[in-house]
């Protein structure tokens, strides 16, 4: 796909956030992590399996009229560590940054251990410590069980 075809498919946004270089197939999980669902009023564009020079195929998410905060966006590094964030104002990219995994992931993933107290009705949020960013190794603060693979399966 060349640039002209791409433009036909997706209109550039005037103001908001573009999350680029999401691994193909992970766009919907990115929305889930960002808490974007049917109650969100902003216009959202989701592109899946777009041709990418860097990685062959990629997904892109555009959120109009909302500048996502760094700590919100960093959570997507769990499933899209190579994603880039573009903040758009008046049709211009005013800020471009990569995502950086936080040291503690709160309320995003559930612990894979069914016997963990964090999987009960207690008034707490799940908490996972990031032990390693590449490869991703997380450890439950409560039961200390590690999570090393299929991370998207544990999204809350």
């Amino acid at each position: 796909m060349n640039k002209t075809e791409m433009k036909l498919k997706v209109t550039p946004i005037g103001n908001g956030t573009v999350i680029d270089h999401i691994p193909a197939g992970q766009a919907l999980n990115v929305l889930k992590i960002l808490g974007i669902d049917k109650t969100t009023e902003a216009t959202i564009s989701v592109l899946m399996n777009v041709t990418s020079k860097r990685s062959g195929k990629k997904d892109v998410v555009k959120v109009e009229d909302r500048e996502l905060k760094e700590e919100e966006v960093n959570k997507i590094s769990l499933i899209a560590p190579g994603a880039t964030i573009n903040i758009i104002r008046d049709c211009r990219v005013v800020e471009k940054r990569t995502v950086d995994m936080p040291d503690l992931i709160v309320g995003v993933l559930r612990c894979p251990n069914p016997s963990c107290i964090s999987n009960t009705d207690e008034p707490i949020k799940s908490q996972l410590i990031v032990k390693s960013k590449n490869p991703v190794v997380l450890r439950c603060v409560y039961c200390e069980q590690p999570i090393v693979e299929n991370i998207a399966d544990y999204l809350i």
């Binding site: 107290i117 707490i124 200390e144």
Partner: protein, 309 residues
């Protein structure tokens, strides 16, 4: 004596070797009081015991430890515990009972429950076993036993039995790695220690070997740490009895062992150690059980005693 800035005792992962040594040193100095000497170090203090699962040894040992220090205990038995658990969150229970006592001891079937309790408790929390998770006071008393009756330096130890589900062996192995022990894992093939735990131990530079044959290692070790192989882990009763028999310690297995060999067991035992072994000089499990008292006294004194000043 402080607790190195710790407010709670939740997991052995939070202890350095120096910190373990300090607890064991204090336990040693308290041992005469554990045997009945008069001590009022925690007079006027109350320890609440919250057991949401049955326990005999651990609960009574904590109660004894508190009473030997001149303190008093409140008891929430398994029946009341389960009644509360039905309607109220653990977090609320902890907040309420934390208001009645100077420290809480908790045993709960869910892993991570002691950590949760520590987040809501206004007073120190001691983990007395959280499901298949941690049981740090058991590990500390095991280390105390080894230090007193054998040696933690250049130790050669065999961990025998159910190494897959047994929570005591996981945290014990982790702590022994801090002392550079030479560890041999002896279990049936279906009950081997989980790979992530083994990898963790090897990552600490400790020597870990694995075998299914107890007789091949029994003559080479200073400590034999035996755990119970539970019947319910085996769908086939015949298979269970075959395995249980091959890991049973009887006097005839002890021919040719080291003079100073000590045999430990977290108890209760079922058939893992023949009663005839009890009469040999190697049997240390009842003494090990007693050592739970001075070790728990040391922890209570460190956690509650300091808060007096």
């Amino acid at each position: 004596m402080n607790m190195f800035g710790k407010r709670h005792v939740l997991s052995m992962r939070e202890f350095s070797r120096d910190e373990i040594d300090s607890v064991l040193d204090l336990a040693e100095s308290l041992e005469p009081y554990a045997r009945g000497g008069r001590c009022e170090a925690l007079s006027g203090k109350i320890l609440a015991l919250l057991f949401f699962e049955p326990s005999t040894r651990t609960r009574l040992s904590f109660e004894t430890a508190m009473m030997r220090l001149g303190g008093k205990t409140l008891n929430l038995g398994p029946a009341e515990g389960s009644a509360i658990a039905k309607g109220e969150s653990l977090a609320d229970t902890i907040r309420v009972i934390g208001g009645y006592a100077d420290a809480l001891v908790i045993r709960h079937p869910k892993e991570g429950s002691a950590r949760l309790a520590s987040q809501f408790s206004p007073v120190p929390v001691l983990n007395a076993g959280d499901g298949a998770g941690h049981h740090p006071t058991q590990t500390l008393l095991d280390l105390y036993t080894i230090r007193k009756e054998s040696s933690l330096d250049d130790l050669k130890i065999a961990l025998v039995g159910d190494l897959k589900y047994g929570r005591t062996v996981h945290s014990l192995a982790y702590a022994l790695a801090l002392y550079g022990a030479d560890i041999t894992l002896v279990s049936p093939p279906t009950l081997e220690m989980p790979a992530p735990i083994k990898a963790d131990l090897e990552g600490k530079g400790t020597m870990v070997r694995e075998t299914h044959d107890l007789d091949s290692v029994i003559g080479e070790v200073d400590v034999l740490y035996v755990t119970r192989i539970q019947r319910e882990r085996f769908p086939d009763p015949y298979e269970y009895s075959k395995v249980a028999k091959s890991y049973r310690i009887a006097p005839e297995n002890l021919v040719g062992v080291r003079d100073g060999l000590i045999i430990m067991h977290p108890l209760p035992r079922v058939n893992e150690i023949a009663p005839e072994v009890d009469e040999t000089r190697h049997a240390l499990y009842f003494k090990q059980s007693f050592y739970g008292v001075p070790v728990r006294m040391a922890l209570l004194k460190m956690l509650i005693g300091d808060r007096l000043e």
